[in-house]
Symmetry: C2
Subunit: 387 residues, 2 copies
């Protein structure tokens, strides 16, 4: 079991009525003039926008708004936000949305103190440039990335096509409101991509587990819960109890002080490859890219390292005979949720493999669990994923 540091300082209010805590938390943080970051329109439909505005009005505050964050959020939108926050003298950032909105908000919060925002994304420890950030508050409208309680943000530089991340304790949200009503009735595709993302996060964080760690035991249990929850929700989007389960699963998968990675060595090759793919084509949803790539990575890793303990355990939970059957079983589950499970469906062809490999190793050239990422490994994964 590896050594680790853990802390999960985000104040999470979870459940029906959680948003009623928003005004009190904003007041406790001493916020006077926030920048609200939003996606396209869903925050208006679900009521999350109105609830946030009404909390601010109750406190007699003024605010700024940045609309239009899209999936695979861009540096351009971040810089737009930094510009607004600086000009208006914002003292905080409120993200009303899912992972893309939160990641944009986090980067703006750190970015107002940076000369060159993209420099913090540099693969050689750029995040060390982040010495402080504006306080971040999240009103969550889509669960999946875990960004609502973690220290990470992923942004695409639309000029270079690089989809890279920052990680810093300064960008952990101070407060997160997990109000289920904003996610009840979510379109099946969004439920499915969020769930696939969460499963991938767990596997990435703990693929190098040795077999005795509590984290490994917990992680397989969370995967099992996600599979049950998503399986129900893609058919019954209005179901409440499993929706709430899936919301908390996503936090357990990649939030809460990286709970799913404590004491175990991670891989993150699937994310490196997926970031390359959705960097090339931003229309590919991150979770769907992972649904294609993650099982292929598992296949390659087991070919080289034998049956991995976490996959053995997962095989048991899924009622499979051996860990070798896990990749196919996961593809089948993802397909059952309506997700693509082959690179062909995503329009990724063999002529792009070299670019994908180059971008993947630029993003992450070594993994903690399995060391250096080799060209033939990435090609093997892409081959398996071209089903």
């Amino acid at each position: 079991m590896e050594n680790f540091f853990h802390q999960s300082p985000t104040r999470v209010h979870f459940g029906e009525g959680a948003v009623s805590k928003l005004a009190g938390e904003i007041a406790a943080l001493g916020i006077k003039h926030p920048l609200i970051v939003l996606g396209r329109s869903s925050a208006k439909k679900t009521g999350a926008y109105d609830d946030t505005i009404s909390a601010l009005k109750r406190l007699g505050l003024m605010w700024e708004e940045l609309w239009g964050v899209r999936p695979n959020p861009t540096l351009g939108k971040v810089l737009e936000g930094v510009e607004i926050a600086r000009r208006a003298g914002c003292d905080s950032v409120i993200a009303v949305g899912g992972g893309s909105v939160i990641d944009t908000a986090k980067t703006i919060a750190a970015g107002v103190f940076l000369k060159d925002v993209w420099a913090a994304f540099d693969r050689n420890g750029g995040s060390r440039l982040i010495k402080k950030a504006l306080p971040i508050v999240v009103v969550l409208t889509l669960s999946g990335t875990g960004s609502e309680t973690n220290a990470t943000a992923v942004i695409t530089n639309e000029q270079t096509g690089d989809k890279w991340n920052i990680g810093s304790p300064h960008i952990v949200p101070k407060v997160t409101i997990m109000e289920p009503k904003y996610q009840i009735g979510l379109p099946p595709k969004l439920t499915a991509t969020g769930a696939a993302d969460a499963i991938s996060h767990i596997l990435e964080n703990s693929l190098g587990a040795e077999g005795h760690e509590p984290t490994m035991f917990v992680n397989v249990a969370v995967i099992e819960n996600i599979i049950k929850a998503a399986g129900i929700l893609v058919r019954k989007p209005e179901e409440v109890s499993w929706r709430k389960s899936l919301m908390w699963d996503a936090a357990l998968a990649f939030g809460l002080g990286r709970l799913s990675g404590l004491g175990v060595r991670g891989d993150w090759l699937a994310h490196a490859i997926e970031h390359a793919i959705s960097g090339i084509n931003p229309d590919i949803a991150h979770g769907e890219g992972l649904a294609v790539i993650q099982p292929a990575v598992l296949k390659m890793r087991m070919e080289e390292n034998g049956e991995l303990p976490i996959l053995k355990r997962l095989a048991g939970v899924l009622g499979l005979k051996s860990a070798q059957e896990v990749p196919e079983a996961l593809w089948e589950i993802f397909a059952g949720w309506g997700l693509a499970t082959s690179l062909k469906e995503l329009g990724i062809t063999e002529d792009m493999w070299e670019t994908i490999y180059q971008k993947a190793v630029a993003f992450r050239g070594t993994t903690r669990a399995f060391g250096e990422v080799k060209r033939e490994q990435v090609f093997k994964v892409l081959g398996y994923a071209t089903r």
Copy 2:
């Protein structure tokens, strides 16, 4: 799934060498003159005391020491610590020990600001009297209670025999050092009582689970890990990797912002009864009392409520045919670790039942999962536990 609040602000350093972070954390907290709280002698044997002192010396600090905290820690010892801390003007409390030492340290930290320390233990919301506390740092030497990352402290008033608790965000430790070397080679009995305590915490926290909650899935996984770890460690106390697992299990069981109770309704009847028992006879180890009582509570609860979802799931993990078999299976596991599994072995006889019932309902008259605690329920539990 129930609504909840979550935050786990304790800065945890886990693993070999974790104690090297102690001086830096003490400096970061601005500590100048701590009171160190200790048990009898084990902190000297394991090196935890020397490591702590050397961190303080390196920082050029002066400190006070309170020695002699025993299992089932007493109000008398707390008041002794409060007196020292006030007289010497201590600005913080450092617990070097396990649950008893930590709970004593927490109560001292809050107690220096209270006129009547025991008033905070009042069953009618006495904890509301706690408005602040000195910062608490933990150097952990025995895992089990989870106190090292939670908001609770249990103290016995030796005059009344009441073993009651406080709960307040102000007494959550700021920093916890989880250094395995202090626990390697721990006597099997201490490993076993700590593990039984941790299993009980999980079951108490989630016995009312409905069946779809991530917490319930996670909790059963942690119980499984604890059973594996303790089974190995009572035979091989020097085994390192499972020792580290058990350390983290205990935190997952009842620490980290009450992770094992999030979204589920708890019972805590076994603790109410056990507190009554070890309040009567403080020589009974808390974990051993729970090993006797917890399975009996499960039996009674299932008799009244049918097969509980978490016990159904646990039955699957333990390879049992039905949840009904779980209580006997747990007793068998605890006996295999060398723990008592009958009230007879603990010297608790039928003439004490009425006192136990009275003390149990004084401690907790209703439970969130199952409502009011009735006399016949407690008697039934005590009957089952007199095997």
